[in-house]
């Protein structure tokens, strides 16, 4: 299993990889799930709606606890990140991922996997990280003002200490991108490699505990990504911080 996703075919110069297919599947599953929940949504909730509301309320309470009234803007992003990553991670554990092969001329008779976990592609995890960081900065400008925002990175008070702190803050934003994207990518990719290895060693029974572990990792990684985003957004939109 290569670290980079496999290109299945190209459409007008756009390389369609197996992770792109998985991303589309994730989108479809997520939107279908949301639509089905919305269809049966009522003031007196059923079991599925209750579970969904519990997740939504968990993140909303956490966000409003940190960001107060700004939660209404931050919460949709946090919940979207969580839902997208968790659905993506969990769909990657379904049978067919990695095992169903796509044959093309360049890969010979073995072919390449048709589907691969979307979050095991650095393109997606980096895209999520960029969105998370960019939206954090956008909210920061919106709520604290451009002066306070720039002052966070460029300050001449207590020269040169605060200037150095500002440079560190800027460096932190770069490392944030790397930590966000590589943490998720590394966890999911390594999990897929482990499960793939287990399947190749003894396909019956042996992968089950690892799949269970991956379910846990899938949820935890989604939560980590969402909670860190929420935390950064809350911090950056706080004038006192």
């Amino acid at each position: 299993m290569s670290i980079s996703p496999d290109i299945l075919f190209t459409i007008a110069g756009f390389p369609v990889t197996n992770t792109v297919i998985s991303t589309v599947i994730t989108d479809i599953v997520l939107i279908a799930l949301v639509l089905s929940i919305r269809k049966f949504m009522s003031v007196n909730p059923g079991k599925i709606q209750n579970a969904f509301e519990a997740v939504s309320e968990y993140f909303y309470d956490m966000t409003s606890g940190n960001a107060g009234s700004r939660a209404s803007y931050i919460h949709p992003w946090v919940l979207s990140i969580f839902l997208f990553i968790v659905v993506s991670n969990l769909t990657a554990l379904f049978p067919g991922f990695e095992t169903v092969r796509f044959l093309n001329a360049s890969d010979g008779h073995h072919g390449v996997p048709l589907l691969r976990g979307a979050t095991s592609d650095l393109n997606l995890t980096l895209a999520l990280a960029v969105i998370s960081v960019v939206m954090t900065h956008y909210f920061s400008v919106k709520y604290t003002g451009i002066k306070a925002y720039i002052g966070r990175f460029l300050s001449f008070t207590m020269f040169p200490i605060m200037l150095f702190v500002g440079i560190l803050e800027f460096m932190n934003e770069i490392t944030k991108l790397i930590s966000f994207s590589f943490r998720l990518f590394g966890n999911i990719y390594s999990g897929e490699v482990v499960i793939s290895t287990m399947y190749s060693m003894f396909p019956i029974g042996l992968p089950v505990p690892f799949i269970m572990l991956e379910v846990l990792i899938a949820v935890i990684q989604a939560m980590v990504f969402a909670i860190l985003t929420m935390s950064f957004m809350s911090m950056f939109t706080d004038k006192a911080h």
Binding site: D27, I31, R38, M41, E53, D121, L128
Partner: protein
């Protein structure tokens, strides 16, 4: 840059993933978050209204209890007043009735006395008449042999007149 391409970072795919996620967020915001928050707010309002109604009902119940106590106290006070009034009225009526009965009995007694006096008067008159008649008969019988008829009649008339006068005088005394 070499390492990034080794890790599979592809510019076009990266931008596609970026746009894809933004579209997903946009769709979720429209089809999920707005209706969900609206529904949750509606439920929150319902629960708050229910709690408020329950609190209002509790206050109303407490007020009703207080009102009940007040009404009971007022009713008891009214009943006591009414009882006292009734007692007083009864006493008054009793006295009035007793007085009336007494007056009535006195009236009846007086009437009876008057009736008895009248009866007695009538009886006296009748007895007087009878006694005059008897006296006349006795004197007629006594005088029949001593006097002539003319003398007898004169004496008799004078005697009877005398008896009659004497009788009345005695009675009036």
């Amino acid at each position: 840059m070499e390492i990034l391409s080794t890790l599979g970072l592809e510019g076009k795919v990266f931008i596609a993933q970026l746009i894809n996620f933004l579209v997903v967020v946009f769709i979720l915001k429209i089809i999920l978050y707005k209706p969900l928050r609206k529904m949750l707010n509606e439920r929150k309002n319902r629960i708050e209204k229910g709690l408020q109604d329950a609190a209002d009902a509790k206050i109303a119940l407490e007020n009703a209890g207080e009102e009940r106590k007040k009404i009971l106290a007022s009713a008891k006070s009214g009943a006591d007043e009414l009882t006292a009034l009734t007692k007083a009225s009864l006493e008054e009526i009793k006295i009035k009735l007793t007085q009336e009965a007494k007056n009535r009995s006195e009236q009846i007694l007086e009437d009876a006395k008057q009736k008895a006096a009248m009866e007695f008067e009538n009886m006296n008159r009748q007895i007087g008449k009878i006694s005059v008649d008897i006296s006349g008969k006795v004197m007629m019988h006594v005088f029949s042999s001593l006097f002539t008829d003319e003398e007898k009649n004169k004496i008799l008339a004078r005697a009877l007149d005398k008896i009659e006068k004497v009788g009345y005088e005695k009675k009036s005394n």
